[in-house]
C-alpha cells in the first residue's frame, strides 16, 4: 500500500508461514477486549461508514492471529473470518460450503491485476468436483451445430488461436451488504470483484469450427459443478448468440499467466468481458447452441432485474416485469485511503483508486473532498484495455483539524456517470453509487 500511515495502527501483526500451512498468530488488539467491548468499539470505529467495505487491516503475505483472523464489514452480521482455502491466501469467508470468499479491499490498491490467490470465489452449488482427470476431461460444443466437437485441453491450446483479454469479473451482487434496506442473499462488501488477464480461445472460433446451424439463437454454458439436493436446478447460463460471438468472449484456461485456480474454475471458464460474473461459467465442459430462449431456472427465474432503465424499484416493492442481469455499471473506488482514517494535515496526499465499466472504457474520474459539492479531475493511469480496472490518482493537501468526505465519480466514454443515490432492487444487484470515504486530518 502506498502510505501505511493512512491505516489505523492496530498493533503488531503476525508474519509466520510454514511450508504449506498457514499459521495464525494471536492478534494483539482484539484479545484484550471482551466480546461486548469489541463489538461496541468496532461499531464506533466503523460507524463513519467504512464505505470501502472490506476493511481489512491485513497486508498480503501477513498471516493472521489464530483468534483474530477476521474482518468486520460495516453492516450488521458483517464479521468474516479470514481463511486460506486451497490455492488461496486468507480471504474473507462468507460461506464455507459452497465456497464464497471475498477479496480484502486493500488488495485492490496493491494490484491492478488481482492475484490469483486473492481473487474472489463464488459457487452456487456445493457439489464441486475435487478431482478432475485431465486425461478424460473434454469440452463439448453441441446442439444446433453441424459438427459437434469434443476437445481436450491440449487440443484447445493447439488447434485454436490463443488470445488474451484483460477484464474485470464482478459478481452481480457485489456490495449487496450495503443495500438499505437490507436484502436477502450473499452479503458481500465491495470485494466480490477482481481484474485479471485471461488467456484462452475465442468462443466464436469454437463455434465456427463446430459450424452454426441457421436457427441458432442462444448459447448455453454448463460446468462440472452439480447440485447436492436432487431438486436443485443445475447451474447453467445462456447468452444471446450475438453477444456470444463478440471477439472478446473467451474460453479461458489461464488467469494472469497461470492455469485457473480450482476455485476460479479450473480447467476452463467462460470469460465474458463487461458482463457480470454470473455468465462466466466455471469448470466449463459443455457449450450448447439453442434454437430457442433458455427457459431453465438460472436464466428465467434467477439473476433478474426490474425491466426499467434504472433497474430499481421502491424498497419493499415487488418486480412486475423483469429481465436477465447483463452488463456491468460504471464504478470507481478510492483504494489507498481507508474510511475513518486519519491523515497528516499540511502534507500533500496522493489519493489513488480504480474505475471500470462494461467496456466502453473510462473517460474521466472526478474527485471531491467535500462530499460532492466541488469536483476536480483526477489523472488516469495506464490503460490496460477497456474492460480492465483503470487506475487513477489525485493530489490534495488536507488542512489540520478538518474532516473530509472523499468521493470519486467515474464517467465512461459514452458519458454515463455513477449514480449519486443508491438504486434499490430486491436482489441487491448493480450497486454503483458514488462511495464516500471519511477522513480526519491531524
Amino acid at each position: 500500500m502506498a502510505d501505511d500511515s493512512l491505516y489505523p495502527d492496530l498493533g503488531e501483526i503476525g508474519t509466520e508461514e510454514t511450508e504449506s500451512a498457514y499459521v495464525y498468530k494471536e492478534h494483539a488488539m482484539k484479545k484484550t477486549r471482551t466480546e461486548k467491548d469489541s463489538e461496541l468499539t468496532r461499531r464506533r470505529f466503523l460507524s463513519a461508514s467504512l464505505a470501502l467495505g472490506a476493511a481489512s487491516f491485513v497486508k498480503p503475505g501477513v498471516l493472521w492471529a489464530e483468534n483474530a483472523p477476521k474482518v468486520d464489514l460495516p453492516f450488521e452480521r458483517g464479521r468474516r473470518p479470514l481463511v486460506a482455502f486451497p490455492q488461496k491466501r486468507p480471504l474473507m469467508v462468507m460461506t464455507t460450503r459452497p465456497p464464497q470468499l471475498e477479496t480484502p479491499f486493500h488488495l485492490f490498491d496493491e494490484n491492478i491485476f488481482t492475484p490469483n490467490d486473492a481473487f474472489f470465489v463464488r459457487w452456487h452449488l456445493a457439489n464441486i468436483p475435487s478431482q478432475i482427470d485431465m486425461n478424460t476431461f473434454r469440452l463439448k460444443i453441441r446442439g444446433r451445430v453441424t459438427q459437434p466437437l469434443s476437445l481436450n485441453l491440449a487440443e484447445l491450446k493447439r488447434d485454436f488461436e490463443q488470445v488474451e483479454v484483460a477484464a474485470v469479473c464482478q459478481c452481480g451482487g457485489n456490495s449487496r451488504g450495503f443495500f438499505d434496506p437490507r436484502v436477502p442473499g450473499g452479503q458481500w462488501g465491495n470485494g466480490a470483484m477482481g481484474n485479471a488477464k485471461w488467456t484462452g480461445v475465442r468462443l466464436r472460433d469454437l463455434l465456427a469450427k463446430a459450424g452454426l446451424n441457421d436457427d441458432g439463437l442462444q448459447v448455453r454454458f454448463d460446468g462440472l459443478d452439480q447440485p447436492i439436493a436432487d431438486g436443485t436446478p443445475d447451474f447453467r447460463k445462456s447468452l444471446n448468440l450475438e453477444d456470444a460471438v463478440q471477439e472478446t468472449v473467451v474460453v479461458a484456461h489461464s488467469m494472469n499467466g497461470e492455469p485457473l485456480p480450482w476455485l476460479n474454475g479450473f480447467p476452463l471458464r467462460l470469460v465474458v468481458p463487461g458482463w457480470f460474473a454470473t455468465y462466466w461459467v466455471k469448470m466449463l465442459n459443455d457449450i450448447e447452441v439453442l434454437n430457442k430462449h433458455d427457459q431453465q431456472f438460472w436464466m428465467a427465474k434467477a439473476y433478474r432485474l426490474p425491466a426499467d432503465p434504472c433497474a430499481c424499484v421502491q424498497p419493499g416493492e415487488k418486480i412486475v416485469r423483469s429481465v436477465p442481469i447483463g452488463k456491468m455499471t460504471v464504478r470507481s473506488f478510492i483504494t489507498n485511503v481507508q474510511d475513518s482514517g486519519t491523515v497528516v494535515g499540511g502534507t500533500p496526499l496522493t489519493v489513488k483508486g480504480i474505475a471500470f465499466d462494461q467496456g466502453y472504457g473510462i473517460d474521466r474520474v472526478l474527485f471531491s473532498v467535500d462530499g460532492g459539492r466541488q469536483w476536480q479531475a483526477a489523472s488516469l493511469g495506464q490503460d490496460y484495455g477497456d474492460f480492465s480496472f483503470r487506475p487513477w490518482e489525485v493530489q490534495f493537501t488536507p488542512v489540520s483539524g478538518r474532516t473530509y468526505m472523499l468521493q470519486s465519480l467515474a464517467v465512461n466514454r459514452i458519458g454515463e456517470p455513477q449514480r449519486f443515490s443508491a438504486r434499490w432492487n430486491p436482489s441487491g444487484y448493480l450497486r454503483n453509487v458514488v462511495e464516500t470515504v471519511h477522513i480526519h486530518a491531524t
Binding site: 436477502p184 436443485t232 436446478p233
Partner: protein, 229 residues
C-alpha cells in the same frame, strides 16, 4: 492514449504444445501457483474446509441442522441481515419449492421461528489451522466383492439389502436413509466424501475412523453395482 483493441493475440510455441502433450501422456497436469508452493495433479483431491460452525442449540435448531445444512453451511444464515418471520418463511419456501429442499410443510413455521431467534447473533468460528492444499494420494479402484462384506457390516442397517434405503432402521430416520441405487449421477468424489465425512443434517455419520480409504473404495465399487442392477 487509446488502445486499438482489447484482445492480444498470443502465439503458441511448438515446444509448449509438445510439453503439454507430454505432460498429458504422463498423466500429470500441474496447476501452477505463483509461489510454486502448491500444485495440483490430476489424481489429487482438493477439498474445502469442513463447516466451521453449527446451528446454536434451541427450539427448531434440529430442523435447521437437518435441512439447511444439506446444501450450505450455517454461515449462510448467520451472515444474513435480520429477517422477519414472513421473510424467513418466504425464503424457506423458496428453498423447498425452487431448490428442492425436502423439508416437510409442518417444519416450515418452526424453522422460521428458529431463524428469527438467531437474527441478531453471529457465532464466531473456532480457530482452526487450515492448510493451503489437502493432499490425498492416488486412488486404487475398489473391489465390489470386498465391498459387499463391508457394506453388510456397516451400511445395511440403514441402506438395506437392495441399497434403496429400506434397511431395518433406514425408513425411521428423518430424513430417511438415502436410496443408493439413485446415486448414478453423483461423482465418485462426492460419494467417497459422504462416506468419509458423513452428511450434515442426516443420520449418515463419518466413517473415517472406522474404515480405511481402500475399504471406502470397495464400498463405492459395490454401490456402483447396486446402481446398475
Amino acid at each position: 492514449m487509446r488502445r486499438n483493441g482489447n484482445i492480444i493475440k498470443r502465439s503458441v510455441g511448438w515446444f509448449s504444445v509438445f510439453l503439454c502433450v507430454g505432460l498429458f501422456m504422463l498423466g500429470v497436469f500441474m496447476v501452477g501457483q505463483p509461489s510454486g508452493a502448491q500444485s495440483m495433479e490430476a489424481s489429487d483431491t482438493l477439498s474445502v474446509p469442513a463447516d466451521p460452525i453449527s446451528f446454536q442449540q434451541g427450539p427448531g435448531s434440529a430442523i435447521a441442522s437437518s435441512y439447511c445444512l444439506i446444501c450450505h453451511s450455517a454461515e449462510y444464515i448467520y451472515t444474513q441481515p435480520p429477517h422477519s418471520h414472513e421473510r424467513w418463511t418466504e425464503i424457506i419456501k423458496k428453498m423447498k419449492h425452487t431448490f428442492g429442499c425436502p423439508i416437510p410443510d409442518e417444519h416450515i413455521s418452526p424453522l422460521a421461528e428458529y431463524l428469527v431467534s438467531q437474527n441478531t447473533i453471529q457465532p464466531i468460528p473456532e480457530a482452526k489451522k487450515f492448510t493451503g492444499l489437502a493432499h490425498i494420494p492416488t486412488r486404487e479402484s475398489g473391489s465390489p466383492e470386498k465391498g459387499k462384506a463391508i457394506y453388510n457390516t456397516y451400511c445395511l442397517n440403514c441402506h438395506g439389502q437392495t441399497g434403496k434405503g429400506d434397511g431395518p432402521i433406514g425408513q425411521a430416520l428423518i430424513p430417511p436413509a438415502a436410496d443408493l441405487t439413485a446415486t448414478g449421477n453423483k461423482s465418485d468424489t462426492i460419494l467417497l466424501n459422504t462416506i468419509r465425512n458423513g452428511r450434515p443434517g442426516t443420520a449418515m455419520p463419518s466413517w473415517k475412523s472406522d474404515l480405511s480409504k481402500q475399504e471406502m473404495e470397495d464400498i463405492l465399487a459395490y454401490i456402483r453395482n447396486l446402481t446398475k442392477s
